[in-house]
């Protein structure tokens, strides 16, 4: 959800990619063994903190049943079915209604939810070659209308996704599926086109077969708007622009986890600032969703006595500086950034810690790895702040300072455009810090921010990134449980460099490195977790030396809820939302 959360106000393209990152986030499947390292990877201190909060809440009083939680919903989606709408709410809140087969936890383990077990090679759920996965379902699961949840529903879901007449926006991992076969009502056998280390990412959402007449399902279908699910709550009503109402699923199949709330009402509030102010004054029990930019407001409200809990989430999305490696999208290297000395000098010249401390109010952490989250996370420190070394490098590479202090080499001036989404004041502040930092080493930076569609537009629309028509662009990307999720690692491969013959290429940096391709390609097609981690570590090292992009900082977002709402448990990845069945309101 994290991916989608940060989508607020960001580029559509970026959001879509992140969306996939999200699904990936939830999805990843490798062997449990491999995954143990996962959650801890991203901010251990944090996980501990939130766990503590969760526990404290649970024991603070005797849970009472009843009441309706009122939650501010900042972006109203087109529909709440995550298979048809890739906006933040259907993705982040799906778990209330559309339950997944497997739940990933903060500690990196996976637990079966609608599935009876997590399929592995050890338990025979996955064949040795990784081409066939057998999913076994719990026999006691029912849809909220009482119908049994069976293997037929999984097969039907795949049929819908595969049907060219449907308008699903399903995660790309379904593209690896060759066939889905129902073995018996509780067993489904899925064959893959090639080994898919990702198989737990399938069936995050399932469609109830008995609610459809054909597998051609489009956005117009009522089920695409308010889906029927198996979860602790059911959708009852949606007054567009005003509220979405959920009620307790009285027939919830988990008899040990009867939801304590009578229901949850999502109040649509278009303005995030207003929503957060109203929340801190007690109008809402929580806000979906909080971005890094909202954290200072929440923190100061809490300090001045607002009855709210704030659970920060460190190590979230990294802000990247994309360094264009092409000369305006051509095969020629960039006239300035094509020189490795320039890229290294930029890396060394930026005072990242100052940005975090002074601009971000301490709400950020530093990393030097492009795989900075998920099971393969690499703990690589950010480049040190060393302007002297940067100057030496540039001198040695033949970049000579001109009269105005800006370096020149072979008639090319070290002058770069620096762009991000216009209208973000915080970003503008640290853009200026970077501008000053780089000026001190003789690199001129011109800040020319643009609306998101001009930066992230498609190739045909003339998007600056797709066309390679930029020098440095800044945006947040790459949060993923598995680097293959959302195509994060693949984004930097040669095959993704956009061009007239490859308009859908996703690479921003127009970088092509065969060794990187080999490492990332191998990591995406083997099931051996240790081998995959090792490959990603090598890829991270290569990336950090070649520097097609520079990580600036990793943002700190969070979750927040009113103190009167108890039983909240925060998972680093999925947030507070999966614990909704345990929420209760103090009287």
């Amino acid at each position: 959800m994290c991916g989608a959360r940060h989508g607020r106000g960001e580029a559509p393209g970026a959001r879509a990619r992140r969306r996939k990152a999200l699904t990936a986030a939830l999805a990843v499947g490798t062997f449990a063994l491999a995954l143990v390292g996962c959650g801890g990877a991203s901010g251990e201190g944090d996980g501990a903190k939130t766990d503590a909060t969760g526990t404290t809440n649970a024991v603070a009083g005797r849970p009472v049943e009843g009441g309706t939680a009122l939650i501010a919903l900042v972006q109203e989606p087109g529909g709440m079915n995550a298979l048809f709408h890739n906006q933040s709410a259907p993705l982040g809140l799906a778990v209330w209604v559309q339950e997944p087969l497997f739940l990933g936890r903060t500690d990196g383990t996976w637990e079966p939810l609608l599935a009876a077990e997590v399929p592995t090679v050890e338990n025979g759920g996955v064949t040795e070659d990784g081409l066939k996965v057998t999913y076994r379902l719990r026999p006691d699961v029912t849809w909220s209308d009482g119908e049994p949840f069976t293997a037929e529903d999984l097969e039907f879901t795949y049929d819908v996704i595969r049907n060219p007449k449907s308008t699903t926006i399903a995660p790309t991992e379904y593209n690896l599926v060759r066939a889905v076969r129902v073995v018996d009502p509780q067993t489904v056998e899925v064959t893959m086109k090639r080994p898919n280390p990702y198989y737990l990412g399938l069936f995050r959402q399932t469609l109830p077969k008995h609610k459809f007449r054909s597998s051609a399902v489009t956005t117009e279908d009522p089920q695409a708007r308010l889906p029927l699910g198996t979860g602790p709550f059911t959708y009852t009503n949606w007054e567009t622009g005003n509220k979405i109402v959920l009620e307790r699923n009285e027939a919830y199949w988990r008899s040990d986890r009867r939801p304590k709330l009578d229901g949850i009402t999502l109040r649509v509030t278009p303005d995030a600032q207003t929503a957060i102010n109203s929340f801190t004054r007690g109008e809402y029990d929580s806000v979906f969703f909080i971005t890094a930019g909202d954290m200072p407001t929440l923190r100061s409200a809490q300090e001045s006595g607002a009855a709210i809990e704030v659970s920060p989430r460190e190590g979230s999305h990294v802000e990247w500086l994309w360094l264009n490696q092409s000369d305006k999208g051509s095969d020629r290297p960039h006239r300035v950034l094509g020189d490795p000395a320039i890229r290294e000098a930029i890396d060394l010249a930026i005072d990242r810690q100052q940005i975090v401390d002074e601009v971000l109010d301490g709400l950020g952490t530093l990393t030097g790895a492009f795989v900075y989250s998920g099971f393969a996370r690499v703990d690589r420190p950010a480049a040190p702040f060393d302007p002297e070394r940067a100057n030496e490098l540039l001198d040695a590479a033949g970049w000579v300072r001109g009269d105005d202090g800006i370096r020149v080499k072979d008639g090319v001036r070290a002058s770069l455009r620096f762009q991000t989404l216009s209208g973000d004041q915080t970003r503008e502040l640290y853009q200026q810090v970077i501008q000053q930092n780089l000026e001190e080493v003789g690199i001129e930076v011109k800040i020319q921010n643009l609306p998101s569609n001009l930066i992230f537009g498609t190739y045909d629309e003339g998007g600056r990134l797709a066309r390679g028509d930029y020098d440095i662009v800044m945006s947040r990307e790459g949060l993923a449980r598995d680097p293959i999720e959302g195509g994060w690692a693949a984004m930097f491969t040669c095959a993704e460099v956009p061009g007239p013959d490859n308009k859908n290429g996703t690479s921003y940096v127009h970088w092509c490195n065969e060794e990187f391709d080999r490492l990332v390609g191998r990591a995406a097609s083997t099931l051996d977790v240790e081998e995959r981690k090792d490959l990603y570590e090598q890829a991270v090292e290569l990336f950090a030396t070649e520097r097609p992009a520079l990580p600036l900082y990793s943002s700190t977002s969070g979750y927040t809820w009113s103190t009167r709402m108890k039983g909240v448990d925060v998972d680093w990845w999925d947030g507070m939302w999966p614990s909704a069945a345990d929420w209760w309101l103090e009287r």
Binding site: P12, R15, I169, G241, R267, T458
Partner: protein, 322 residues
């Protein structure tokens, strides 16, 4: 009169068709498409995007898309939203009452305040009342309405806690009957005041100016000379004549209020047309945008027609030849 109305109605048709062509073309020219959020996500996804494009007819040539849309509008099918997959007319229909309530209340409030102020200011030109009301009018016209909205929110909602900060109903409690009405009114107070403020200021200026013109006319002096009560002179003779230019301005503030509701509905979280417009614009949801813009265009046409009719009611000398 009937012939005139029919004629004007028929004239509006080519006008609206022209407007629709312009709007359609202009929307197509804006950067970023409705599928921008699904595009650019890798070659694997490209085929899927193509399917969605086909489903919504976005792969047809533009003229075909236009005629499909226009034909649909003529037969009452305004298309389907790319975002929600619901019929455009349904989406507009469920939002329209909220916007009408908001703009209607603001319009009435603006008239109710602006007319007496304007009349009194003109009657007592250069008095302290005139100076104060003129001064306030200038402030009202110059002040950005979103700023006023935020200030009022800050004072009456955040600091004093008297009024809710947004929405149309209190979702914490079940209000029924009269208490539901009160609840609705409480939610409407701030947005209506802000929306009315700017129009009030403008209207008051016009009423004052028109009244000043009329009060210097001979017939007003005659009326006074014949010993009519001041009240009768002002209300019965002067105001009625002064009303004609005012009506033009007043009627044209209706589309303006509609525009203003875009901002107010966003700040006060009111589910109306204005917010639907903003959201649809962000998502490049062309069918919804076209639907709202066409309704807006029709509204301007109708407002002008209404103004013409009101003229003839106010001034018997005005007759529309057919």
């Amino acid at each position: 009169m009937t012939t005139f109305l029919v004629k004007r109605g028929l004239q509006a048709i080519p006008l609206l068709i022209g407007i629709s062509l312009l709007l359609f073309a202009m929307l197509q020219m804006t950067p970023g498409g409705p599928l921008a959020s699904s595009e650019g996500t890798g070659a694997q996804n490209a085929a899927r995007v193509e399917q969605i494009r086909e489903h919504y007819g976005l792969d047809d040539p533009l003229p075909v898309q236009y005629f499909n849309w226009a034909g649909g509008v003529a037969t009452g099918d305004w298309g389907t939203s790319f975002n929600t997959g619901r019929p455009v007319l349904t989406m507009i229909w469920e939002r329209l009452p909220n916007t009408l309530l908001l703009t209607g209340a603001a319009f009435l409030l603006a008239i109710a305040i602006a007319v007496p102020i304007g009349v009194l200011a003109a009657r007592k030109q250069y008095s302290w009342f005139d100076y104060v009301s003129s001064g306030l009018s200038f402030v009202g016209v110059a002040m950005p309405s979103f700023w006023l909205a935020l200030m009022l929110l800050f004072v009456f909602s955040y600091s004093l806690g008297w009024l809710p900060s947004g929405g149309l109903e209190d979702l914490r409690a079940d209000h029924e009957g009269f208490s539901a009405v009160i609840d609705r009114v409480r939610h409407m107070i701030l947005p209506v005041i802000v929306l009315a403020a700017v129009s009030t200021a403008q209207l008051a200026r016009y009423v004052r100016g028109a009244m000043l013109d009329v009060l210097q006319q001979d017939y007003v002096r005659t009326a006074r000379g014949s010993g009519l009560r001041e009240r009768t002179v002002i209300v019965g003779h002067a105001l009625r004549n002064a009303a004609i230019p005012v009506v033009t301005v007043a009627v044209l503030t209706i589309p303006e209020l509609f525009l203003g509701s875009v901002v107010m509905e966003t700040i006060f979280a009111i589910p109306g047309i204005g917010r639907l417009f903003v959201e649809s614009a962000n998502l490049r949801d062309y069918p919804v945008l076209l639907g709202i813009l066409m309704i807006g265009a029709a509204l301007v046409v109708v407002a002008n027609l209404v103004a013409d009719i009101v003229y003839s009611l106010l001034d018997p000398r005005i007759r529309y030849a057919s």
